[in-house]
Amino acid sequence: MAELNKDIVGKKLAPFTFHVERGKVREFCLAIGETNPIYLDQSAAQAAGFSDTPVPLTFQTAFTFWGYPKFWTDLEALGIDVKKLLHLKEEYTYHRPIYPGTTVHCRMEVIDVKTGKMNMATFKGVFADENGVPYIESEMAIVIRPD
C-alpha cells in the first residue's frame, strides 16, 4: 500500500473561481431531489428572508469538481492513489448565503496527513468573495482503501 507523504501538509491547490449560475443550482437541486421552494423559487426565497434563492447546503462540492478540473490529477501529484480513495469526512461552517450570480473565490490546502493503519489526508477549503471574506469554510478528509 502506498503510504501518503507527510510533506504534502501545507501544499495548496492553485486558487480558482466558480461562478454560481442559476441553471447549475437548479440542476443540482433536481439531482438531489431538493423540493424546498426556497431553493427553487425566488419569491419563496424572498418571503423567507433571502435576497434570492440560496444554494443548497452541499452545493459547494460543485465548486471544486467543476471549477478545478485538475482536482484528480493534482491529488495524484500529491501521491494520493485516487483509484483507492474514499471520502471520509466533510464539514462546513456557513457564514452567509451564496446566491446565483456570485463569483466564489476558492482556496484549498492540505492541513493534515495521517499514515499507518489508515492513510488519510485532510483539506481545508475557503470559499470567499473577491476580498477574501468567506461564505463557507470546509474541512474534507479522504482515506486510501487498503489493498
Partner: protein, 139 residues
C-alpha cells in the same frame, strides 16, 4: 419557512425524518453531472470491480445532500451555522435511505443560542451510511 426557537426545542427531540430511494444508477449519473464528481466508481460497474468494489457505489456527497435536505426542511438555512458528517459505509444502488436527526445539546455561548442535532442516514435495515451533526443558531 419556520425559524427554530430555542425554548421550543428540547434535548432528545427528533426532527422530521426524510426518506429517499430506492437509489438508482440514474440518480448517481445525474448527481455526477450536477456535482462534477465523475469518479468512475460511481457510474462504471466494470471499473468499480477492477478496483476491488462489488459494483458502483453512491457518492458520499449524494448521501450528505439527502441529510442536508432534511436539515433545511427543519431549520431555516440562515440559522444553520455548521453541518458536518463522517462517511461510515458505502451506499449501493437499490438501497433506500432514511435520514433522521435528534437534538443532542442546547447551549448559550457568546450570545448565541446554539442547538446541536445528531443527524444520520441509514438504509432500511438500519446500517448507518453517514452520521454527523448540525449546529443551528436558534432565535
Amino acid at each position: 419557512m419556520q425559524r427554530i426557537v430555542f425554548n421550543a426545542v428540547d434535548e432528545g427531540m427528533e426532527i422530521p425524518s426524510l426518506k429517499c430511494g430506492p437509489i438508482t444508477q440514474m440518480d448517481l449519473v445525474r448527481y455526477a453531472g450536477a456535482s462534477g464528481d465523475f469518479n468512475p466508481i460511481h457510474n462504471d460497474a466494470e471499473f468499480a470491480r477492477s478496483v476491488g468494489l462489488n459494483g458502483t457505489i453512491a457518492h458520499g456527497m449524494y448521501v450528505m445532500a439527502q441529510v442536508g435536505r432534511m436539515c433545511s426542511n427543519w431549520a431555516h438555512p440562515l440559522q444553520i451555522k455548521w453541518f458536518g458528517v463522517k462517511f461510515r459505509g458505502m451506499t449501493l444502488p437499490g438501497e433506500t435511505l432514511v435520514m433522521t436527526g435528534k437534538v443532542k445539546k442546547k447551549k448559550e455561548e457568546n450570545g448565541e443560542k446554539l442547538i446541536t442535532v445528531a443527524v444520520q442516514a441509514a438504509n432500511e435495515a438500519g446500517d448507518v451510511k453517514v452520521s454527523g451533526e448540525l449546529v443551528i443558531k436558534a432565535d
